[in-house]
Structures are given as C-alpha cells and as structure tokens.
Amino acid sequence: MDKFGFTISTGRQIDYESNDRRIAEYIFEREPSFRLCIECGGCSATCTTGNFTDFSLRELNILIKRGENEQVREKLNKCMLCGKCTLVCPRGVNTRNIVVLAKKAFQKSDEYAI
C-alpha cells in the first residue's frame, strides 16, 4: 500500500524451504540423467534460441531444481527442440527430454495436481 510514498521492498532470496519442487521430482523420476548436470553451460552456449532470446537452458535447469517454477513456465515454450544441446553435454544429460518433461509436468500441474 503506497501510503507514505514508498513500498516495502520484497526479498529476492530463493527460499528453499517454501519452494515447490514437484516439477523437478517429476523430471528426476523420468529422466535420471538430469542428476548429472553440473551447470557448465555448454548447452546454453550452443542453443539456437539462446542466441537471440533470453532463454538459457542452464539457468532453467537450476531454477527447476530449486523450485522457482513461475520463472520457468513461460520460457520453456521458446525451446525449438532442435537437440543441439544434447550433442554438446559433457555429462551425457538428455537435455532435450528435460524440456519436454518439464512442459508435460507444467501441463499436468495445471490440469490436476501431480
């Protein structure tokens, strides 16, 4: 409420306790290689979309793992599913499948709780 000419700033910390990590768990169960990601950024570096928009697969992977779902939901639609990321990954993570599973998880959580 702007009674005094200013609003109280909200914290930007990731509050691990209160975040909902069910999207991440859905993906972990169905794509075990997700666990191998070390966030090195090789995928983002080669990403076609990432070259021209603010889509960063590395960042989205982390946000999903921390449960910051709202920041991920819309951005996922930007992925072209071209698969270049999967070619680069040094750990052998099936990155393209992670995007597909994430989209599926969001769709399900919208329709009914997963």
């Binding site: 005094f4 000419g5 200013f6 609003t7 109280i8 909200t10």
Partner: protein, 353 residues
C-alpha cells in the same frame, strides 16, 4: 547454543577504554529523537560514577551524516573533525567519547587514515590552521559512550534498583541487542567482541539481569543508511531491512530491543508503526510492538530514574509493557505532563543538569 564457544570469541576482541576525564561530543539528532538519553548518560557519569565529563560549548557536528550522504567532501569532514580535536586539546582532554555511533566510526576511520597516510594528516593540519588558526593533538583514547557504560556496568549494576527480570514470572527478560553498523563492522578490532558476536550491549544486559537472544538476522543492518532513507523513494529498502530483522526475531518472543546508535532505535521504533500501517503486522506479543531502548535509557531504568524524565513518552512503540514487567514505579497519568512542579521533581528524583 554453546555459550563457552561464544565467550571464547569475545575474549579475542578486547579494547582499551579510558578510566576518566572524558571529552564528550554530542550527537546531531539523538536529542531530538531520544531526549532523555544524553542527559541520563551525563547524570550517570557525573553523579553516580563521579567521573569528569567535559562538553565544549563550541563543538559542532562531526559532519558524518553529510559525509556518508555524499554531500560533504571527505577533506572538509576531516578538517571539521580536526577542529573537534583542537577544541579538545585546548580544553586539556585526551579521551574522546562520542555519543553517536556514526561519529565513532568516522573518528576511527579518520585516525586510521592518518595513521597510514601521514601526508593527509599534515595537509589537514595546514587547512585547519588556515581556516581557524587552531592546532590539535590526536586523541589518546577513543571510546564510544556505550563502551564506557559497558566498562562500568558492574558499578551501575551494584547501584541498581531494578533488574531486567519479569517480576511476575521471575524469568529474565528476553532482550535483543542491536549494534550500530559503524561500531564493529568497519573495524572489528575497535569494537568490544568484534563484528561477529559483539559483546558491548550483551555484557550490560547480562550484568543487569536480562537474557540475550541470538536470532539469525542478528547482524543485519536496520536500514538506516543515509542514502537509503534521505531519498523518499529508497525508504522501501530501509523498511525492508528492519522488517527482515523483525520477522527473524519474532519466534523468539523478545521483550525489548536495546541499541547503541542514534539511528537504529529511531528506525526500529518508528518502522514498527510504518509496517503496521502498510501491512498490518505487529511483532510483539498480545498484538503489541517490541519496545526499543537506547542503552542509556536501560541504564536509567535499571537505576530507577523516572521513565518520563528519560524521555520514554517520545517513543512511538509504547514502552509500558517493559516498565510493568520490571516493576518500575511510575505514574501513567503524568506521561505527557510537561508542567513539572518542584514537588514532582523531588518526588521522582528528576535529572537536574
């Protein structure tokens, strides 16, 4: 919590605090927000502890508030501070005792700068001579007034009329201590207890019967950074800092907050009102706020001074809950009574300075 571990840390950070003959420099704003604090301090020092505390009538603001707001350039500030030192030298004193924590931080910073860069000190001497014709000697000892009260906490405790104990339950009061950022965060070795677990207010509370609470945001700034609140649009950040502290201390159910800075009690006290207006939240028990005190006010309460002479009616968050808990003898109807008769003055042991 393993208290022995904390005490080991406190042992590592001790500092030299002078015994007597203090040169007192007042705060710019404390007499407005907390009128009784400095008067109570002088009464305690002069009458209870029989110390020599001298105030020079010509001393000015140290301009720390201007320096930290980018309004006064650092060389001007240094020259003004040099004039303070000159007045002190002329009066024949060597132990500097500022009332304000920002002043303390500024004096420490300037003395440290001159120690590492003697050419700057030389330049300031020339500038002072040119501007005012005065010369100065650097203070031999620099201690904040809370350091001095800390040093004599046992003597004050011995004369105490009341202890910081809830007289109904017999439990010590739960006290949150909040140290001004300019005290230990800038130069940890110049603060009693260091930066991580400052001991200066903890020592006082423990001596006077209370119990200190350690909560996660204990070291967080209250938000009184000059640039934060001087510009209206930035005040949201200031309030958010205080709010973060309140949210963190609330589960521990503190009875009161003690501070040693001019700005911190002002913020912690007034922002509780603002947060209540903007978000409807209160942080004390029974829908009350948490009373905020300066250490002089706590010393005065413990010694049995009249709360209205200490200026507690000027706090926005009501202090009565604490007064009731420790059993202070006071008259609620005299709270806003500005018409003081001699008999009232005598009855309530009012401060005559």
């Amino acid at each position: 919590m393993i208290l022995e571990g904390k005490k080991a840390v406190w042992k590592d950070y001790q500092k030299e605090i002078a015994e007597d003959k203090y040169y007192y420099v007042r705060s710019c704003v404390r007499q407005n927000f907390f009128p009784g604090s400095e008067t109570a301090f002088l009464k305690i020092m002069r009458e209870e502890l029989n110390k020599d505390v001298y105030e020079h009538p010509c001393h000015t603001s140290c301009t720390g508030i201007g320096y930290h707001s980018d309004i006064v350039p650092v060389e001007t500030t240094m020259t003004v501070v040099a004039r303070q030192f000159a007045l002190m030298t002329e009066a024949g004193y060597e132990n500097l005792m500022p009332s304000c924590i920002t002043s303390f931080g500024l004096y420490t910073e300037i003395l440290d700068t001159w120690h590492h860069f003697p050419e700057v000190e030389e330049k300031v001497r020339r500038q002072l001579k040119k501007a005012t014709g005065r010369e100065f000697k650097k203070p031999k000892n620099l201690a904040h007034s809370s350091d001095v009260i800390f040093k004599f906490r046992k003597e004050i405790g011995a004369k105490a009329k009341y202890k910081l104990i809830n007289k109904e339950t017999g439990e010590p009061l739960k006290v949150v201590d909040h140290i001004g950022c300019h005290y230990a965060k800038m130069f940890p070795s110049k603060g009693v207890g260091g930066a991580e677990y400052p001991y200066v207010l903890t020592g006082m509370i423990e001596e006077w019967g209370g119990q200190i609470i350690d909560y996660p945001e204990r070291r967080h700034c209250c938000g009184f950074g000059f640039r934060q609140y001087l510009v209206q649009a930035n005040r949201g950040f200031s309030v958010a800092c205080s709010k973060e502290k309140f949210e963190s201390m609330k589960p521990f159910k503190p009875d009161m907050i003690i501070t040693n800075c001019p700005g911190c009690p002002m913020f912690l006290d007034r922002w509780q009102y603002v947060i209540n207006e903007m978000e409807g939240k209160r942080y004390g028990q029974n829908g009350e706020g948490i009373p905020v005190f300066t250490y002089e006010e706590v010393a005065g309460l413990v010694l049995g001074y009249d709360p209205w002479e200490l200026g507690l009616q000027m706090h926005q968050t009501d202090c009565e809950p604490v007064l009731n808990k420790i059993g202070t003898d006071y008259s609620p109807e005299d709270k806003y009574n500005l018409d003081i008769s001699p008999s009232y003055s005598k009855k309530h042991n009012l401060i005559n300075v």
